[in-house]
């Protein structure tokens, strides 16, 4: 139980670090939304499942999984609303200049 939860938490931490690097390095708001939405959700999933495994079979683990379900409803809704607002406000997506 202990080693499996440590492996899950380390994998989640890796994906969270990748998401933070993407948020800093990517060039546009439309490409940054991929880093915030997709990679962040996967990292949070792995990390919370690892913590629930560490807690064992109890009510606390069930509540942690409920928080995870709430996170999976909330994260895509926020990203979708923000990106739709950015597109309707007239922002142009980033393109590489053709040499």
């Amino acid at each position: 139980m202990g080693l499996l939860s440590i492996i899950f938490i380390l994998a989640g931490l890796f994906f969270l670090i990748v998401a933070a690097i993407g948020v800093i390095r990517l060039p546009d708001v439309f490409s940054r939304s991929h880093a915030v939405s997709l990679t962040d959700s996967l990292g949070a999933f792995l990390m919370l499942v690892g913590i629930a495994l560490h807690e064992g079979l109890s009510g606390n683990a069930l509540k942690i999984l409920a928080v995870l379900a709430l996170l999976y409803i909330q994260n895509p809704v926020i990203e979708h609303a923000t990106i739709r607002a950015a597109l309707r406000a007239g922002l142009k997506p980033w393109k590489r200049e053709t040499p």
Partner: protein, 88 residues
């Protein structure tokens, strides 16, 4: 296990700093809203890890649930307002 959770807390705090750079430096206002959404996700995970670290996880889970609901309403309100108003 306790030492390991402490290092996880330190790494999560540095990740919040990385998102804070995007909030302060973002070229448009939508970058700042996206950075705040990322900070809220990190804060939920950070609260649960703090609860496991201090062995009071039943109390900290309720706090993180309230924070998640509050952040959802706030971010949706800001997004709808910016959609109606257009680019400032």
């Amino acid at each position: 296990m306790k030492i390991f959770l402490f290092y996880v807390l330190v790494v999560l705090a540095f990740l919040i700093g990385a998102y804070l750079y995007r909030v302060l430096q973002g070229p448009t206002i939508f970058d700042r809203v996206l950075g705040l959404a990322g900070i809220s996700t990190k804060a939920i995970i950070l609260l649960i890890v703090i609860g496991v670290y201090f062995e009071r996880v039943d109390m900290f889970i309720d706090i993180s649930t309230g924070y998640a609901l509050l952040n959802l309403m706030g971010a949706l309100a800001v997004a709808k307002y910016l959609e109606q108003k257009g680019l400032p």
